[in-house]
Amino acid sequence: MLLSELKTLYKLEWRQFSRSQGQWLFPVMLFILVIVLFTVGIDPEAHRLQQMAPAVIWCAFLLSLLLALDHMWRDDYQNGVLEQMLLHSESPLQLLLHRVVVRWVLSIVPLLLCLPLAISMLQMPMTIFMPSLLALAAGSFVFWSLGSALSALTLNDRRPALMSLLLLPMAVPIVIFGSRVIKQSAMGESVSGLVLMLVGLSILSLSITPWIMFAGMRLNLD
């Protein structure tokens, strides 16, 4: 039963993603725009670009994810689907967690496909592609799962900015470790420790996310 429910969830998410009237493109556009705006703010010489690149890539990436995070629960909260899922699904917790993961994948894949573009725009060596990809995936999962929990907690509030303001201070460690990965891999140093650190953080966030998410939804549906 659970398996068929999950299959349905995947199909449904895909249907919504493919029919979102181009909404999946918005984060990608923001990602590129942030990089462009940063660059036109400095003298774009190679060494300066390379110095800024780790921070620019990470900030652009996380800010773009905020656009997608805003729709995590809000639409279904407003049309009443969320409460029906909590009440009547066979296993609401798994269902909600799977949605978090599915939407994370659907949101980061288009951004990661733009990563080579971002790397060349910032004149970084292409060798950083793989380490950056891993770090961005792990780091964005921390960000995404905490963001899902916080958006469940702030469902009551119609202003999308509130969740972002609660979430962004918590992104400080992600940006610190994540930028370091890009910097060190550009210098040809090993980054496995840092990537593992980000993976560890994502496991930690995954372990606290479900109950915050649940508590937040129950609270806002009361």
Binding site: S4, T8, K11, N79, V81, E83, S89, E90, L221
Partner: protein, 203 residues
């Protein structure tokens, strides 16, 4: 046979009392009609009965057992339809039945054309939900009751947006459910409900 009993339920929002001392009892084969003015707390009460919200005071008994301790058997026995239509606008009618409703616990319909015929939506399979009229959306939403066979139905103004024919179908369905030993709790602003075995509760 099932029974649901409420004893002295009260709901407060901070210092504001939504309702207080609500009691009723309901058995299989009966329906409860909740009446009251706007803002009397009908929806708050029904959301407590559906398990979405908690009463500040009072007790609820399902088959003579308080379900504060374990409400899984109760939760498994009810279906709640809110006054929202619980549909996703850019899905088609068919997708709503095949994808959305199963996520909300409904069994996949064995014969979709038959069930769509039932609610008068035959021929609309490929229409997107956002292009349906309010009444058609309501009909689609009500279809979940049939796809999910539960003894206790909790309905928040189910006949809103429905035309006369739709209302006749709705009350017919409810009547059939009750005669099959089901239970129905219904909020309605109608002057009179065309149902037998109705208890009413005024808030």
């Amino acid at each position: 046979m099932y029974s649901l009993e409420a004893k002295n339920l009260s709901k407060w929002r901070d210092h504001y009392c939504v309702f207080t001392d609500v009691s009723f009892s309901l058995n299989s084969g009966e329906s409860l009609w909740i009446r009251g003015d706007n803002g009397a707390g009908k929806t708050s009460l029904i959301r407590i009965l559906a398990g979405l919200s908690k009463a500040n005071d009072g007790e609820l008994l399902w088959n003579n057992e308080s379900f504060l301790a374990d409400n899984s058997s109760y939760q498994g026995a009810l279906h709640y339809l809110s006054h929202q239509q619980t549909l996703i606008p850019h899905l088609t009618v068919l997708e709503s039945i095949q994808l959305l409703f199963p996520m909300l616990g409904a069994k996949a319909a064995s014969d979709i054309s038959l069930s769509l015929n039932d609610v008068g939506l035959a021929g609309f399979e490929q229409h997107k939900v956002q292009n349906l009229s309010a009444g058609q959306k309501q009909r689609l939403s009500l279809l979940r009751l049939l796809l999910r066979n539960k003894p206790l139905w909790i309905l928040d103004e189910p006949q809103s947006h429905l035309d006369r024919e739709g209302q006749a179908w709705l009350f017919d369905t409810i009547e059939r459910h009750i005669s099959n030993k089901g239970m129905v709790i219904i909020i309605s602003h109608a002057k009179d409900l065309p149902l037998t075995h109705v208890k009413s509760l005024d808030l």
